[in-house]
């Protein structure tokens, strides 16, 4: 079994919309994968299935040996501790400093401060924000806020880094910088990276595996692929 294994997966929402249909694919440990497709093609639902924000209607979703489809609500946190999640809108807590935002998760697991500190500093160093640990989110640029979000996602050394449109709110130059940070994490830490994006230029420049979804169906899956999604949809 591969690290991420999806077999004949369907996701039909209560309003009748089929977001994912008969999806079968697998992702190896340490892979870097782009998930692309037109708006509403099921990209976000796909990643939500991976971190169990949504449950598949039918089929199997395995992540790091956990059957996500059969995971009880009370056990979801165990899956999420193996994952790091990065969002388009950063989801930082405005009243906490950069350091506190990154340490937030670890503190709530009951870890000691002296164990937390080196992990947080290392994560912030990796994203190039070590000098701004005392800043608050509103004192940072969009790119810097996304770096904080990435640092928070990698602080507990996750097996998989899921990035849902990480450059969606950023200008092209900053987007490139952010993708460089994410690519380095994949290379240096061996973390499996799954990035949902619309950014054709980024996908084409990095030459990684590209999974394209079309109306919830797997339309294309190529190694060292290019952006092929039809944006007209």
């Amino acid at each position: 079994m591969k690290f991420i294994d999806i077999k004949n997966c369907y996701k039909v929402y209560k309003n009748g919309v089929t977001a994912i249909a008969d999806l079968t694919l697998s992702i190896d440990k340490g892979e870097f994968v782009f998930v692309t497709g037109a708006s509403g093609c099921g990209k976000s639902t796909f990643v939500k299935l991976l971190y169990r924000e949504e449950k598949p209607t039918k089929g199997q979703v395995w992540v790091g040996g956990i059957n996500v489809a059969k995971l009880y609500n009370s056990r979801v946190y165990k899956l999420r501790r193996k994952l790091g999640i990065v969002f388009q809108d950063f989801k930082l807590l405005p009243k906490l400093t950069v350091y506190e935002n990154v340490s937030f998760g670890l503190e709530n697991t009951g870890m000691k401060q002296k164990e937390i500190k080196p992990l947080v500093l290392k994560a912030l160093e990796r994203v190039g924000l070590k000098e701004k640990i005392r800043s608050f989110p509103n004192q940072l640029s969009g790119g810097e806020q996304q770096r904080v979000c990435i640092a928070r996602a990698i602080v507990n050394d996750p097996k998989v880094l899921i990035c849902d449109e990480p450059t969606g709110n950023l200008d092209p130059k900053t987007s490139k910088e952010i993708m460089k940070v994410i690519a380095n994490i994949n290379k240096e830490m061996g973390t499996t990276v799954i990035t949902v994006t619309h950014d054709k230029e980024i996908v084409n420049s990095l030459k990684k595996r590209v999974i394209t979804l079309d109306n919830g169906v797997l339309a294309n899956d190529t190694m060292k692929g290019k952006y092929t999604a039809d944006e007209s949809n």
Partner: protein
Amino acid sequence: MKAIRIFFRNVGSALKSISRNLSLSMASIICTSITLLIVGIAFVLSANINGFTKDLESSLAIFVYVDKDATEEEIEAVKSKLLEIKNIKSDQIIYKSKAQLKDETLSNTDKNSALYTIVNSWTEENNPLKPEYLISVKEIEELASTAETIRKINKVDSVQYSEDVVDNMIPVFNVVEKVTWIIIIGLIVVTIFLICNTIRLTIFARKSEIEIMRLVGISNFVIKLPFVIEGLFLGLIGAIVPVTTIILGYIIAYDKMDHHLFTNLITMIEPMPFVIYVSLILVALGAVIGMIGSYGTVRKYLKI
């Protein structure tokens, strides 16, 4: 150690939340205080009146008069029949013979009175007093029916008990007790509702924080904990005023009212350790109300 660290982190977070939503927290605290104060007063009154009714009940006895011509065997047979009645306390049957009753009457009468002379002149044969059994019952509510059963026993001449007390006072006390408890339960429900509301607003205020907690893999228990602790604190803080009032109020009332409640018939329970027990009950009740209110809301609105 891990659990202790998580607990203390959440205690801080709960206190912060109370101070952030101060006006709503105060509404919950005041409502809890009023409820607990009324519960406390009701409890103190009920405990004192209960003590009185228990005394009253234990003093309520049935006098069973046996035919004055009954033989020793017949008197003994009456006792056997009495022992067969379930509501009678079998170890509390007191028998007084005609001779014993005569002696008792003499000892309670002035030796120079005419009555003394008359009673003293009674012999074994012409003693008009009837031998009697003095019995106590287990369930005071069944006193009348028990008396009726006794009346039917062979050689029982008559049965007497304080019908006024049983028919009038005890039902009144029962109604007062029931009404008090209905009011208390109603107030507890209102307080739980208010605490639910406070916690619900806290959850909405911290929605993004909760979302991030869930995404970074924090267990549901740890996410829920600060809200339950907040409810616990609201209940405990709400107990401060009623506990102080009950302790001081009862001690002062005990002195000022000369150890009697409303009437000389009801002797008040000694303040120590009574007020301590009442206070502990109020604190526990405050904590339980707070936790039930917050846990219910957390379950409803967090859906995790």
